[in-house]
Amino acid sequence: MLSRVADSLYWMSRYLERAEHTARLLAVKLETTVEQTGEEAEASWQRVVACLSAEEEAPRDSDAMVITQHLAFDRESPNSLLASLAFARENARQVREQLTVEVWENLNRLYLKLRGNDMLDTRYPATIFRETLQDLHALGGVTYSTLSHGEGWYFLELGRHLERAQLVCRLLDLHFGAAKMMVAAEPKYFDWLVLLKFCSAFEPYCKVYTAAIQPEKIADFLLFDPEFPHSVRFSIDRVCDALLRVAPGAPPNRRASVERLAGRLKALADFTQVEELMAQGTIAKFLADIAAQCEEIHDAVYAAYITYGAETVL
């Protein structure tokens, strides 16, 4: 596979994951905000803003609709939902000949639809984001069932799960870790519930732990559950699987640098326990470690397969 094509597939997938995350946070936040007191709601919005925007351009407004408009549709912001979709589509356009007609058309249609309704003029704006989520899930399904599960597919998997692991780490950090300090109020019961919903995790969590909502168990579930698709552990496993399947013909010495990092990350996820993190107060460091190692893997993949110097292989 051309390096440029792998690059575009990888980023298309990262941006789609980011778009899905943004749509879900906004949908959940808008749906749950009515049941919170003003102060709780504001703290909760702060977490969403901190999670979704670059620090310097986070909206200072306290009006939920203004914030939503910014996070969803601001054309100037590279982090908005619309911008993520536009970037995903640009990357897809670069590699149209690698995608099936179904994948391209679903993505293109979704983008055109959202762009066409880029103002919150509806009384129930959450419905826009719910619909977007459904469309994104449909796109995921179409991708899964029409695209060959070859190298390109594994670059999509790699991008999606590196992005997801980092996004979930960021979310957990805002509830458990160092970034928690950014928000005035400590999370309350309702915030833990919302955290689960931010990760589509409420029902899967209840199946494992019942509706007894406990922060430590939530951390355990979202970090280490091996079967739940939005847990950090699950994403790391997918990243490791994907790395075994990309660049099949690359020479062993170049593969080694990537696989060593993947193995280290997998070991970290496999052999850390939530009790330990809580007891020793090291959860912030752990989350930061995971995020940093994801970055290292990203860099190593680029160096080995995408931007390698031609002189090294001639």
Binding site: R4, A6, R93, R96, V101, A247
Partner: protein
């Protein structure tokens, strides 16, 4: 569609009966469905003038244009003859120059052309086929015969629209085809692939790539479409590199050798070491790899020398010279001012002719006689007399019309016809063409950038 006495021409009878029965709202609905389909497929061009970079579709008219079997037979034979002669001509001027020595065509016209590539002299090309993909523009004359308006021998576009138009019309009127006997065109990508494949002596594991300037090029949709339909790699210049005169693509697993490049980049931009050094679209060293015979480029470089306005006028003579045959398709009558007889005719009839400077394009250096003032014509006459070699003249061209859906009704609009010819080991023409249509009433402009559209073209089997 209608003959001069108002009756429906025979080949349209069945179609007209069905289409005209449809209610305007129904037509509107199907038209809308087509446009949505084009938009979703991303068959668009981008208008960069506004900030949001609006994407527009090229309007498609659902009313198909019909070419009868008999008309097509002549078009096909004429185009095959023409591409054969043009390729022999290209070979000749890059080798012996026999046609120049024999005085058939003036030496200065060829060696002075900015599209003549001295670098190509004496360089063998596979099967002596310089032009592998050609799109010639035809118009139907008042007497019903087709004539060639222009040959596009460099990187002709539009074949993806030919295929996309068929696709949407088939979806809009699924029942129409069987009754009509429309010949299929879907095998074009396969024919293109086998044309390209036959250009290389490499037999096993041939690696073919379509070379595009990238996503910002207006024909990018076509480049991606053809690569996907052929199942070959779509590459940009930055994906390729040349080492030891061999072309490689950079892949995740290392470097992969490329054997054939179907390039959709103009000569000027293809290799900064040989041609324009300021271009980042091409590949440094590509030309040397080509010269060394390690890669095939289709179309060959330097084919543009044979498609300018002046050479066009000589094509009938070239056909007689190389093939000893009479041209099957006419040219538009063209007067070469370098020839004394033609010159005096042009000067005497400036009020009826369009005069064009050979080296110019885009309407520059042009006189539209019927629309010019007497003083303008006199001034232009002086310019022609001062440099007759630089001017050609043609009668003002009247494009034929075809029925077109407009605002729920059917109206005539001007059209031209671009069939696509493939030439390599053998010559193939898929029975179909891109019909471009001037959507504004009375307009003769069929270019998509200026409000032109396109429509499906049906070549009938009987």
């Amino acid at each position: 569609m209608f003959a001069s006495d108002g009756s429906v021409r025979a080949q349209f009878a069945a179609l007209a009966e069905r289409l005209i029965k449809l209610a305007p709202e129904e037509l509107q609905r199907r038209q809308q469905a087509c446009e949505t389909s084009f938009l979703h497929q991303g068959i668009t061009f981008t208008v960069y003038s506004d900030k949001q970079a609006t994407e527009r579709i090229i309007p498609t008219d659902l009313f198909p244009r019909i070419v009868t079997a008999k008309e097509w037979e002549k078009i096909e034979a004429g185009l095959k003859q023409r591409i054969l002669a043009l390729n022999l001509f290209l070979k000749d001027i890059y080798t012996d120059g026999r046609v120049l020595k024999d005085g058939i065509i003036p030496r200065s016209m060829i060696y002075g052309s900015k599209h003549y590539r001295r670098e190509m002299r004496g360089l063998p090309v596979p099967h002596d086929a310089y032009v592998n993909v050609c799109g010639s523009d035809l118009i139907r004359r008042e007497n019903g015969s087709f004539a060639v308006l222009e040959d596009n021998l460099r990187v002709p576009s539009g074949v993806s629209y030919m295929l996309a138009n068929r696709d949407v019309v088939r979806r809009a009127f699924p029942n129409l085809f069987r009754a009509q006997g429309v010949r299929p065109i879907d095998h074009y990508p396969r024919e293109l692939l086998s044309t390209l494949r036959a250009l290389t002596p490499v037999r096993e594991d041939v690696s073919i790539a379509v070379l595009t300037p990238g996503v910002f090029n207006s024909a990018y949709f076509e480049h991606a479409f053809l690569a996907r339909q052929m199942g070959v790699e779509l590459v940009e210049g930055r994906d390729l590199l040349v080492n030891d005169n061999v072309v490689y693509a950079r892949t995740t697993s290392g470097l992969k050798r490329i054997d054939v490049i179907y390039r959709r980049i103009d000569d000027d931009f293809i290799d900064p070491l040989i041609f324009r050094e300021d271009s980042a679209l091409g590949v440094s060293g590509l030309f040397n790899a080509y010269r060394a015979g390690n890669v095939v480029i289709a179309n060959a470089l330097g084919t543009g020398v044979a498609d300018d306005k002046a050479v066009y006028a000589y094509v009938p003579r070239l056909i007689r010279y190389y093939l000893a045959e009479e041209p099957i398709l006419e040219n538009i009558e063209t007067y070469l001012c370098r020839e004394p007889k033609a010159l005096s005719h042009v000067l005497a009839n400036l009020d009826k002719l369009v005069v064009k400077a050979v080296g110019e394009s885009g309407g520059y250096g042009m006189l539209v006689g019927p629309h010019a003032a007497q003083a303008e014509r006199e001034a232009f006459a002086e310019k022609i007399k001062a440099d007759p070699e630089n001017y050609i003249a043609q009668p003002t061209i009247q494009l034929s019309t075809a029925p077109t859906f407009v605002d729920g009704g059917v109206e005539p609009r001007h059209v031209d016809l671009r069939p696509f010819i493939l030439h390599g080991e053998k010559t193939e023409i898929v029975p179909g063409a891109l019909t471009r249509v001037a959507l504004k009433r009375g307009s003769l402009v069929v270019n998509s950038s200026q409000g032109g559209g396109s429509k499906d073209t049906w070549v009938l089997s009987h």
